[in-house]
Structures are given as structure tokens and as C-alpha cells.
Symmetry: C2
Subunit: 201 residues, 2 copies
């Protein structure tokens, strides 16, 4: 029997941490050691912020980006953003990546995941219907910025089909060789796509 | 400016999580999303266990293994364990690995780290003195089970030197090729060590 079984409070902590994604079991014990060693003040700080996020942070009910409820949506409520473009992303993480490029000034729409029948996630589990409902006369372009995974591409194809009836222009990210990369280490599919989509120098 | 800067509560959560080891920044946003999506009940559960570990979990002040304070030390207070052997480990994680082999029935001593001058960790920052003080007539063997890193080996050498004056037998883990491994992928040093330490078949 694992000695964790004989330490009920430590086991409860483990149960909680096991549910946190991206804590591989090898590192989990180190993370547990970290929490076991925290002093009272740090634990209180952590608990306070966990309680505060429930109170103060919410989804924008238009684009589904996290917002400080008292401040409103950073995108939808910002008149400096181009209200005619909507960039569709799987989740908040991808939005952060795009924001960091400082090359996009339009709005966003977070789908909340990708269509993945194996995981039991269908179109109705995502904010696709809500995206379609946002397409009014003011919107001229929807940029599909899903990840280049089979699920991401299938989701992009599904959303594109749904948008077909509307007057909106649907675009997607360029595919090709990453900047700074060495062709030798790029997969064949990417290279052949980059070759097919070649541009005048 | 990163949009996190404009979400003060989310930023506070990030600050707390950034201090947790083994949360690489790439995954940090996913972990944050996990916490942002937790319901009130789950957050209360998590906060409760964090508060409880401070109250109910402590170090054994003899071997420095975590214990449920009310239950006593799983090792020192267990008369079925062989009180004449002490296995010295860097931390709790290595102890768990050794316990899982079910091949060791003696006591432990957790050093709390390794000597690492670059990180400012000297012998006095570890529980080495406390180990020396545990060496009484009842103890016949100290097994050094430090990790096979430069710091681990230096720490083992330091502890072995400290124990030289005592009557105790000092041993260490066998070094060699891991079971199930392919010689082709083992480093030269390990192979040459395994060759030098070869045993009758």
C-alpha cells in the first residue's frame, strides 16, 4: 500500500491537485511538497485569490473572453477595437498568443474548445451558435484561428460551413514554414503546403 | 501591454500560480483556465485542504518525513520497521519511490535537499547534523540513496565523511544499467561503471 494512503490530509491535497491539468504525476509530488511547505500567510493569499476570481471574474457573454466583471469586456467594450473583424479562437490561451503579436485590432470569439466526438464534444457544446448570432451587418470578416490539429481543422471547417449563408468574408491563418525554422526539421506536409502556397519574393 | 495587466484578479491568480514549481509558462494559462472555471464548491474544497495541511500535517522531528501530526511518524513510530537501518534521501519524493519497491523495511532520514553552492545551499541548510545525532548504538547501517547527480553525489560524499568516525556501516545504491534498458541508449559512464562492478551470473 502506498504510504499516501496512510496520510489522509496529504491524500486529500493530492486528490485536489490530481485534477489540475498539466501536473504530470512525476512532478505532482514536488508540487505537493511546495504546498505542504507554504506558510499560513501564503495559503491565505492563495485561498483569497481563488475566492475572488469567483466573485470578480466572469465570461463576456458576447465573445466569451474572461473579464473583470466590474471593468467590462476588454474587447467588446473598447471602441478603439475594429468592430468589423472577429477572430475565432479555441480558448483564452490562443487569444493571448494573438494579442501578443500586437498585429490584430479586431474583436474575438472564444469557442470554448473544439469538436471532438471521441471526447463527446459536439458543436452544441461550443459557442458556435453564439458566433453565428453575432454576424450582423457591422461584421465584415471572420478569421478562423484554430490550432492546426485534426480537431481544430474540423471545427474550422464546421464553422466555415455555418457561415456560408452570411455575407461575411471567412479567412484563416496562413500555413507554411515557421520563421527561423530549418527546412530539414519541418514535416513534409508543411513543406508541401508552403510550396503550394508560395508567394512572390 | 499584455492583456493580463488589465485583469487585476486574474493577474493575482497568475502571480500565485507562477510560484508553483513545474508549471511551465506554456501550460500556466491552461492551469489558470482550470482554476477560473472551478465552481464555488470545488474552490472551497481546495481552500479547506490547504488550510488543513497547515493544521494537521507536519515533519517528524526525527526523520523529517511528512506525518499526520495526530497519527505520529509512519516510520519512526512503527515497531515493525527495522530500527537499525536508516536510508538517507534528498526529499519525500525519493522516499516514495523506495517505499513503492516494497523491498525496504528500515527507517528513513530526509535531508531536505542537496549541497549546492551555486544555489547557496550548504550542509547547515540540510538535516545532516540531525542525521549524525541519530547514529546511536542501535543503528548498524546508513544507506545513502541520493540521486545520481553531481550535487547528489557530492552530498553523499559529505555525509559519508561525516559518518566516518562512527561504527555504522555506510552503503549506497548499486550503479549500473537499468533493468529493461538497451545498452545502445545508455551513456558511456554508466556502461563502464556496470562493467567494472560486474557480478557473477
Amino acid at each position: 500500500m502506498d504510504i499516501i494512503e496512510k496520510l489522509p490530509t496529504v491524500k486529500r491535497l493530492m486528490r485536489q491537485l490530481q485534477q489540475v491539468p498539466f501536473l504530470a504525476s512525476k512532478n505532482m509530488y514536488r508540487v505537493m511538497s511546495y504546498f505542504l511547505k507554504l506558510d499560513n500567510e501564503r495559503i491565505d493569499q492563495l485561498c483569497r485569490v481563488l475566492q475572488d476570481i469567483k466573485k470578480d471574474v466572469s465570461f463576456c457573454n458576447r465573445c466569451f473572453v474572461w473579464q473583470e466583471t466590474s471593468l467590462g469586456c476588454l474587447f467588446c467594450d473598447d471602441s478603439h477595437r475594429d468592430q468589423s473583424q472577429i477572430c475565432v479562437v479555441e480558448s483564452w490561451q490562443e487569444l493571448l498568443v494573438i494579442e501578443r503579436t500586437e498585429g490584430y485590432r479586431g474583436l474575438y470569439h472564444v469557442l470554448g474548445g473544439v469538436i471532438s466526438p471521441l471526447d463527446g464534444i459536439g458543436p452544441s457544446d461550443l459557442y458556435i451558435e453564439q458566433l453565428i448570432n453575432r454576424i450582423t451587418s457591422g461584421v465584415s470578416e471572420v478569421i478562423l484561428a484554430m490550432n492546426q490539429t485534426p480537431e481544430g481543422e474540423a471545427t474550422a471547417a464546421f464553422v466555415a460551413r455555418k457561415l456560408k449563408g452570411t455575407a461575411v468574408k471567412v479567412s484563416c491563418l496562413a500555413k507554411g514554414v515557421p520563421i527561423g525554422s530549418n527546412l530539414e526539421f519541418i514535416d513534409r506536409l508543411t513543406v508541401s503546403k508552403a510550396l503550394a502556397d508560395r508567394k512572390p519574393f
